[in-house]
Symmetry: C2
Subunit: 348 residues, 2 copies
């Protein structure tokens, strides 16, 4: 039987299960799916296109015979096993931050920089969820009008922090509706010292704090943008904020373009035909994206495009996409599809 | 008995009930409280400092003998009855948008521009909730370093849309947790054509759309800022967004100051002693404001102050305050207290 052998590392997680689901509708020729996870999950069953598959514990030898390995089990697992997978001839598509800023690793949003994969050394990194959708929305504008500056404030869904965080939010919400006390054990960041409720609350911290008072999530958006756009001169600042939403990241994006001819109508025209974008922008009919209407969709939705009140070359917009789909699983599968169409991966 | 006779118009609403509660702890000498509302609510009972009061229907004659009338029953009620109250010798403190941009009406945040009240003509306007907290946070910085530009993205609580919207959010949340279908009848704006769920969702529309693709809420933040700061040259752009939070508006604020000497530490020093501000800014201990920790408090909380990655004179910060307290009821009562301390109101 022809087609690729594909491993999913972290198959039981929020992103892993979405990868399995979305591979079912991919155009990629698939021979076999291997589901890998921690020892704790080994033996559990999951379905791919109605076929029952048994989850195996991830070991170095798990990657024997694997053509493409999709990693989404945390940075430590990627650092331990991605090199083992590459050693065994697999191409790794890594959905953690482990290799994103490694200069030898392409960081890819297929609509933006699929060509960067041509120089890969076995590992291709999937960008951070909040970066991906911003790149899909801004790259077409950048190609037409140039892009000098980005200021973004995010409204990020809880599923981006994993299935346990989502469960905790729902429990907190139920307690709150019942007027019962509740606590917090996971957010804003499982690895940090303090935890705060997210149900009916807003947390201006995603990941832990780093240089200059910015969080790692904010640095990811700043640094990954420059790498994906291959432009160190774009000014980027980010404020990353968690909101009580199940799935679907929203972003309030301000940009400054270079070309004096830029207009709202011109930007709308560019986005109307841009790959991976769906323009939802009509104030007269209250048409704009929201997380609830974007959930489960592969597109990045853009609306509320308007010129800055004072800056002729400044524009504001509202960008929404499903963080588990385009922000994670779907972008990884698109990378695999691009590897296939660019003839960069071989069946064993 | 000495003290003022104070009328509360819209006594049964989310802001009106908060006004009654907060008048109980005010330093203002109070002789009598009159609770006014629509005909529908007339006859209902509410308590002020454990004294039962009966709500009366608002009529022109309701304001006979009233010294200070706090209006929070919608712009139409203010337009109808505020002139009647003034005609009868009352000073109106109006918490609707009816008179805010009237050049003869002072628009007041007492920490910022109490002096503007000296020229009042009977009506003093309380600014929009999202504007007030931004003014409290930015005015001290402006005084020290100058202020050239503001870009703000808001995360606004549902109580700002009234008690019915809050009830609807809770019902939607319960249905969603039960996996039951649910609809929407109020938000994003009761006066607009379409309605969308707010529970576990984000709506980038507050109030209806107006000029240039901005909503009225966004224009309020832009125009009111210039009026309160008496400076038409400050560049202001806003993106106003509703989030599923009960009370407490959050704002991601970017500013550009004028003075080359500005630093994060300098801004923190300014805010540490600023009136009405509580600095909560220590990434090392994950100290920053959230709506849940700000609810019920009179202060405006500021944290996450950091320099822009690229602009030396650009700074980002996170500003949170209870929209029903400092954003509405408390600011109105502070205006009344300032009228008293500035000797601008007389007992009848």
């Amino acid at each position: 039987m022809s087609g690729y052998t594909i491993a999913i590392v972290g198959a039981t997680g929020a992103v892993g299960t979405k990868m399995i689901e979305m591979l079912g509708s991919s155009s990629l020729p698939i021979n076999k799916i291997k589901l890998l996870a921690s020892k704790r999950s080994a033996g559990k069953k999951l379905y791919f296109n109605d076929v029952e598959l048994t989850i195996e514990e991830t070991t170095a030898d798990s990657f024997d015979g694997v053509d493409i390995a999709l990693f989404s089990a945390g940075g430590d697992i990627s650092k331990e096993f991605a090199p083992e997978a590459v050693k065994r001839g697999a191409i790794v598509i890594d959905n953690t931050s482990a290799y994103r800023m490694d200069p030898t690793v392409p960081l890819v949003v297929p609509e933006v920089n699929a060509d960067a994969m041509k120089n890969h050394n076995g590992i291709i990194a999937n960008p951070n969820c909040s970066t991906i959708q911003m790149m899909v929305a801004l790259q077409p504008i950048r190609k037409k009008y140039g892009l000098k500056r980005i200021i973004v404030s995010t409204y990020q869904a809880v599923s981006g922090a994993g299935a346990a965080a989502l469960e905790e939010m729902k429990e907190q919400a139920q307690h709150m509706l019942n007027d019962e006390p509740y606590d917090a054990k996971i957010l804003p960041s499982g690895g940090d010292k303090k935890h705060f409720p997210i149900a009916f609350n807003i947390l201006p911290q995603i990941d832990v704090f780093a240089e200059g008072g910015y969080t790692y999530e904010e640095w990811k958006m700043i640094n990954e943008t420059k790498k994906i756009m291959s432009d160190d001169h774009i000014k980027v600042s980010a404020t990353c904020v968690r909101v009580p939403v199940v799935s679907g990241h929203s972003e309030s994006v301000y940009i400054e373009v270079a070309d004096e001819s830029a207009t709202v109508a011109g930007i709308q025209d560019v986005l109307r035909i841009a790959p991976g974008v769906e323009l939802q922008d009509d104030p007269a009919t209250q048409l704009y994206p929201t997380p609830l209407t974007a959930v489960g969709k592969k597109e990045t939705f853009v609306g509320r495009i308007r010129q800055d009140v004072d800056e002729k070359l400044g524009f504001h917009m509202w960008v929404v996409s499903d963080n588990l789909v385009k922000g994670a699983a779907w972008n990884s599968i698109q990378i695999a599809e691009s590897l296939h169409s660019l003839d960069l991966v071989k069946e064993k």
